[in-house]
């Protein structure tokens, strides 16, 4: 809890991560909107685009959370004062808050710029929530790995994509159904997303000490 609040306070003062995250996402979306001329014929393509934008925004904006601590030397102060699990929990919550606040701005913009409508808004929000929770979990634990390696910027996307693939495939399919108004398979997809989030989070808590401690 304390870690999350500290990060939010720091972020509020500097706005490094959030402004980069938001501008990156908006740039990608405007580019897409420009090139397709504002109309997407297929809601399947729209669903895929939404998740691709979210994926790459997370990859661009979130790896800093651990790299910053390692580079500035504050990681040692954290290690001395808190258990690894406390740090992981705080960073995960911070990541999730950051992604949600991104989605709050990005998703309405997405519907406006790409002229999409969503026929099942409630289910759509639920799928979005579950997907973002998983995205935050994977990027938190992989950011901790990447913070200890060289070539941080490139490595993050390379490492995350295969791990996130089950989430992305499921979320895209479920989002497509929600946009098009078909309930079929959405419940199963949500169950799958829920299990995926749970497995990744559980594994993160079990393995984080190996990443965090030298």
């Amino acid at each position: 809890m304390a870690v999350c609040r500290k990060d939010l306070r720091v972020e509020f003062r500097t706005r490094y991560a959030y402004s980069a995250l938001l501008m990156f996402a908006v740039t990608v979306m405007v580019t897409v909107s420009f090139t397709v001329g504002g109309f997407l014929p297929d809601s399947g393509v729209a669903a895929a685009l939404l998740w691709i934008i979210l994926f790459f925004s997370a990859m661009a904006g979130l790896p800093r959370i651990f790299a910053q601590e390692e580079e500035k030397g504050t990681a040692a102060a954290l290690r001395m004062a808190a258990a690894p699990e406390t740090v992981l929990m705080g960073k995960y919550m911070y990541n999730a808050v950051l992604l949600f606040s991104l989605a709050v701005l990005l998703v309405p913009l997405f519907f406006v710029l790409l002229n999409q409508s969503v026929l099942l808004p409630g289910l759509f929000l639920a799928v979005l929530l579950l997907g973002l929770l998983g995205l935050a979990a994977v990027s938190t634990v992989l950011a901790a790995i990447v913070a200890k390696a060289e070539a941080k910027g490139l490595l993050m996307a390379v490492l995350s994509f295969p791990v996130l693939l089950p989430l992305l495939l499921t979320a895209v399919k479920a989002t497509h159904n929600c946009l098009a108004g078909s309930r079929e398979g959405v419940a199963a997809s949500m169950l799958l997303l829920f299990c995926y989030d749970g497995v990744i989070l559980a594994a993160s808590f079990l393995l984080f000490a190996y990443i965090w401690d030298d």
Binding site: M1, A2, V3, K6, R9, V10, R13, T14, K72, G73, T74, A76, A77, L78, R79, M80, A81, A82, A83, T86, D213, D214
Partner: protein, 218 residues
Amino acid sequence: MLTRVEIKNLAKAYGQRRLFSNISVTIEYGTVFAVAGPNGAGKTTLLRIICGLLPPSAGEVSVSVDGRVLSAGERRAKIGLVSPDLELYNELSALENLEFFARLRGLPFSPEEARDLLAYVGLKGRENDLLAAFSSGLRQRLKLAYALQHRPPILVLDEPAANLDGEGVRLVENIIACQRKRGIVIMATNEPGEVAYGDRILTLGPQGHGCLPQGSAR
């Protein structure tokens, strides 16, 4: 709370380069243990191993309180560390830094107590300034406050007087003298004056310099 640090056959190597080996020491309650030696002799590494921040290549460090050996996590909570490798948050003020670490440690936080602590390390009047505006000497003072905040039975000081002025050096002397009454000080330094605080002194690395061998330069 009788604290004791036991170091048994400790060795550390990076790759195949051996930094030190076979260090065995028992540090009893009420002692100042000074580690001396030239740059690169492994002083900082030894201190990091004692704190549990780095695994040793061989041997072990055990910290016990009243005869009970602590786990790695408990051990960190009993240590206050000041080190050039440990930094606090630039984006927070001195007071916010202390508040954050108090909450992280699960301690009750009272602003009055924190102000007293900051006044003790000579930061009166700077409580609400962001760390980004601090000079390196002021930062060092805040690091001392960070290490003392939870009143640890073991104080690990790596170059504690770095960047400090004359008054700051006296502050460090005072901290060491007070801690000796309440527990253990483990200190690494190059300064002969600081080494002299040590009740026990461990010197790492080669002793003194020989002459360079005649090279092929002539």
